[in-house]
Symmetry: C2
Subunit: 357 residues, 2 copies
C-alpha cells in the first residue's frame, strides 16, 4: 500500500526499553487537561474544594448506583475535553476501566461518548495502567490525543464485592471506604505536547505479586508487595532513587498498606522517606470521617491525581513524581474458592514543564 | 536523565495515524509464535486436529472450572513461548483478559507466569484488542517481545452469565456455545520481526455501538453492528476494500450474526462476498454438534486464530487478512437493569511474509 511504502522509508526502528520493565518516552507525551468529579463524602473531605464537581447525592439523577457511576465517568471525560478546548470527536481513543463486573461503567460510558475504546481492567491500578499504555501510544504517534479515565462508586463496589448495603455490618479496622469518584486525563503527542504543563517521561509495567494475604478486608496488605516490586524495578531500570522524585504517589494502599510498603522498601534497602510517600487513599478522607484505613477504588487515585497532584505539577510546586496506583486482582469467586489476593502496580513518571523553564 | 537526553536528540516524532481510527505499523511487528488449547467438544469439531492440545475433561486436573480455565491460559502462554524457543522471563509483557468477573483467569495466570501484565477487557473482542494494543507497543519499540492471550470456558461463562449448569434449560435458536479454549500469540519487534512468518501492518480501534438489542441469548445480533462499523472505518481509513484481503475473520458472530453482518455491509454498500467472511464461531463446531448458532467466548477467536488462521498465513495459503474479534459489553447487572447490549470490534491486518517473497 502506498502510505506504508512511503512511510517505511523514513522510519528507523528503535527500542524504547531501559532495563527489565521500564520504557522511556522520548517523544515526551504531554498531559493537556484533566478533570475530577466525586461524591458528597469526598467533597466533605480535606481535598473537597479541589474537585471539579461534587455530585448532589449517590444517584446523581440516575435510576441506579451503576448508572450514577457511569454518569460520573462520562462527565469527567466531557469536562476534561472542555478543559482542553477540544470536541469529543477529536479524541482518538478512550482507555478506561472500572471495578464493576465486565467494566460496565467504562463500556457504557464509551457507548454514549462514541470515542474509540480500549477497555482495561487493573482493579484499583487502572488509572496508572491507562496512563502507562496511553503514554506509550501517544509517545509512539499512535494517537495524537487520547483520554485515560477510571471511576468507582461506594454503593456499587460495596454490594458487588462485599455485602448488601442494607446489611450495615461492622467494618474491620483494616477496611477502606470505596471512593465515589472519577478522573479523566487527556494525553497528547507531537507539537501539541510541547504546550502541555506536565509531561510523561517513563513508565514501568507491573508484575502480579501475591504474598498470600487472603483477607478481603485488608487490600492494603495485599497490594503493598506489588508496589514495592514496581518501585524496586523502576529504580533499578532507571538508575534513580527516591532523591530524584519530589513525591511517590500511590493509589489506595490506605494507612495500613502505606506503612507496610515503607517496611517492605526498608527490607529491600530502598530508601523512601515517609514524607515523600503520598497515598491518595490515606489522604482523601480526614480521620474524623471514620473510614478506618482511608479510601480505595479506581476513582480514588484518579480523582486525587486530577484534583491535587496534576495542579501541583502544573504550577511547578512539584517538579517530578512517580505515580503508581495499585490494584488487588481478586474477585468474590476467587475468595470463595480459597485463593489469596494478587496485587499489581504500574508506574508512570510525570514532570512539570515549569521545572526546566 | 542521561539516557533521555541522548535519546531525545535522535528521535523524530511522527504520527502513525491514517484516517479517523486506523494506525499503520511501519515497524512491521512480527508474529513469532502462537499456541492453542481447547476442550473435548472443540477437539471433536472440524478443526480438532489443528489445536496444540486438547484437555482431557472440563476440569483439566484442577479443583474448579475457574482454575481449569486459568490453567489453559497458562498452558497456551507457555507453549507459545516454547514454540518461539524463548524463556518466559524473556517475554516483556502479557496483554491478556477473559470473560470472568475481574478477569481472574488472566490475573491469576499472570501471577503464576510472572510476566509483567496489562489486564484487558473487551469481552469476546479481547483477542483483537490485545493484538491491536500489542501491535502498537511492539511497533513503537516499547516491547521487544510480548504475548497477547485470552481464554474462555463453557462451564465458567455459562454459570456466570446465564444459569447454573445443573439447570439444563432449553437454549434458544440464536444461542451460541461458549468455547472452552485459549490462544496465545507472541509479537516481536525490530530485527526479530524480520524473521517472523507473519507481520502486522495496521490496526483499527473500535467504537462501542448499540442498536438496541436486549436479548442476552442473541449476541450475534448485538455485535454485528460494531463489526460493520469497524470494517467501514478500516476501509475508509486505508482506502482499501474487501478485494485487498483474502479473508475477513470475525470472532464469534455465530451463524445468525454473520448473516446480519453481511446484510449490514450491503446496506452500507460495502461489498464483502460471503465466502470471504470467515467467522470463527460459525466454524469451530460442526452443525451435528448441536450448538445452534455456533461457538462464542474469547477463547473461540483466540484458539481458531492460532490453530487455523496463523498457520494458513505462515504457509502463504493466505496472503493478507483482517482479523476482527467482536465483543458484547453487557453484564448480568446491566441486563437486569433493562439496558440493551453494546458491542465493540477491533481489527488488525495480518500479512504473510511468503507473499512478498
Amino acid at each position: 500500500m502506498r502510505i506504508m511504502k512511503e512511510k517505511e522509508q523514513v522510519v528507523e526502528w528503535m527500542s524504547r526499553r531501559i532495563g527489565e520493565r521500564t520504557v522511556m518516552l522520548p517523544g515526551m507525551p504531554g498531559i493537556a487537561a484533566w478533570a475530577s468529579i466525586v461524591g458528597t463524602k469526598e467533597g466533605d473531605g480535606p481535598y473537597g474544594g479541589k474537585f471539579d464537581r461534587v455530585i448532589p447525592d449517590e444517584l446523581n439523577g440516575e435510576n441506579s448506583f451503576e448508572a450514577a457511576e457511569r454518569s460520573m465517568l462520562e462527565s469527567a471525560v466531557k469536562i476534561c475535553a472542555q478543559h482542553a478546548d477540544c470536541a469529543l470527536t477529536e479524541v482518538q481513543m478512550l482507555l478506561a476501566g472500572d471495578l464493576l463486573n465486565q467494566i460496565i461503567s467504562a463500556g457504557f460510558a464509551a457507548r454514549n461518548l462514541q470515542i474509540p475504546f480500549y477497555g482495561l481492567y487493573g482493579a484499583c491500578s487502572t488509572m496508572s495502567e491507562s496512563l502507562s499504555i496511553g503514554s506509550m501510544l501517544t509517545d509512539g504517534g499512535y494517537a495524537d490525543r487520547l483520554i485515560c479515565a477510571t471511576c468507582s462508586h461506594f454503593c456499587t463496589a460495596e454490594r458487588q464485592y462485599r455485602a448488601p448495603l442494607e446489611l450495615g455490618n461492622q467494618r474491620t479496622p483494616t477496611a477502606q471506604w470505596t471512593v465515589t469518584g472519577a478522573g479523566a486525563v487527556m494525553l497528547c503527542s507531537g507539537a501539541a505536547a510541547a504546550a502541555c504543563p506536565v509531561v510523561l517521561t517513563h513508565t514501568t509495567c507491573g508484575r502480579v505479586i501475591d504474598l498470600g494475604i487472603s483477607d478481603a478486608n485488608n487490600m492494603g496488605a495485599a497490594m503493598a508487595p506489588a508496589a514495592a516490586d514496581t518501585i524496586a524495578a523502576h529504580f533499578r531500570d532507571t538508575e534513580r532513587n527516591s532523591g530524584d522524585y519530589d513525591m511517590i504517589v500511590t493509589g489506595d494502599l490506605g494507612r495500613f498498606g502505606r506503612t507496610l510498603l515503607l517496611k517492605l522498601l526498608e527490607e529491600r534497602e530502598i530508601d523512601v522517606r515517609p514524607e515523600k510517600l503520598f497515598d491518595c487513599g490515606s489522604e482523601i478522607f480526614s480521620p474524623e470521617q471514620d473510614t478506618h484505613c482511608g479510601g480505595s477504588g479506581c476513582g480514588c487515585a484518579a480523582s486525587m491525581l486530577c484534583a491535587h497532584i496534576l495542579p501541583e505539577l502544573a504550577s511547578g510546586r512539584l517538579s517530578r513524581i512517580l505515580f503508581m496506583a495499585t490494584g488487588a486482582l481478586l474477585s468474590p469467586t476467587t475468595t470463595m474458592q480459597g485463593e489469596s489476593i494478587p496485587g499489581v502496580a504500574h508506574a508512570v513518571v510525570m514532570e512539570s514543564r515549569r521545572r526546566n523553564g
